[in-house]
Symmetry: C2
Subunit: 179 residues, 2 copies
């Protein structure tokens, strides 16, 4: 069992790191994009205390289909249908406008499977914490405010599956970043 | 056990990714540096068929002390003394000149512990394969040749602990890259 976990996790993070190789985060360090999905996987484990291999793999892969040339079929073939279905639950439909994508995240959140809710909370926790510490230089305080309001609406639809992640998010939402 | 492996591996890759955040590889893509240690860990598992958690963690961390602000003490505190001792076995002494560091790798290789030999072979396999596919733009064919000659000398001192890694390295050394 240990062998399988080790192989699956390293294979998954290597796959994601290669897919995201040419992407950088919008933060002031232009951090490698892969640092984000790794941090989301760590949130699943350390904050969510949720130790499910498929969920951790999906956390590592959660932005590959949305942001790289990676397809759902590729994820399914490499990592199986459960991992693929979690990734697709948290993948924005890029045929929608940016505004519609944001609206769809709010309306869609309550309807995704529990493991996907955990990945999505871990993702929002990472992004919101990151913005507090390290906002993209181009973002105004109003943009940050808007992001927090939207993020809270999405997270409201994810409640009921992981109290620790909810609590960590609640602390952020109650912090003084919000007007 | 599964829980511990999952937590240790993700914690380790997150630590390494943060330490290497501002570093890029010398390849033509300026790839994030972290892609390299992740690939070395994958070589340990997929080529070496070696499924030892401490060795995989050391592979993920193997360049942190040499190339970032990370210290041996930090590795020992976070990941324990076995992981730290493997990392230190494969860490160059930067007080030496570049030439002396390269010579020391050759003379030191036979004397490191077996797990360190596996990490070092996996590292050399990654770097030599990478140079074939994706050499730094500034490297001449002579530089590449010299790197292969030196790499083979180091690897000669690492033999006897993992036949699969040795075989993969032998195939590279016999490939037509060498004059
Ligand atoms: Mn994300
Ligand atoms: Mn290395």
């Amino acid at each position: 069992m240990e062998i399988i976990v080790l192989k699956e996790v390293i294979t998954t993070v290597d796959f994601a790191a290669k897919k995201h190789r040419d992407q950088r985060r919008k933060d002031k360090h232009s951090s490698p994009y892969i640092n984000h999905p790794i941090g989301v996987a760590l949130n699943v484990i350390n904050v969510g205390q949720y130790y499910d291999v498929a969920t951790v793999q999906a956390a590592l892969l959660h932005d590959t289909v949305e942001d790289t040339d990676c397809t759902e079929e590729e994820i399914r073939k490499e990592f199986g249908s459960e991992v693929a279905s979690i990734v697709m639950d948290v993948t924005d439909d890029k045929s929608l406008s940016k505004v519609d994508r944001k609206k769809f995240q709010v309306s869609h959140a309550p309807h995704i499977q529990d493991k996907s809710k955990i990945v999505k909370m871990a993702d929002k926790l990472y992004n919101l914490s990151d913005i507090i510490k390290n906002a993209p230089p181009s973002w105004s305080l109003l943009t940050i405010q808007g992001y927090f309001v939207w993020g809270k609406k999405v997270c409201d639809g994810l409640r009921g599956v992981n109290a620790s992640l909810e609590e960590a998010l609640d602390q952020l939402f109650q912090s003084n970043v919000i007007f």
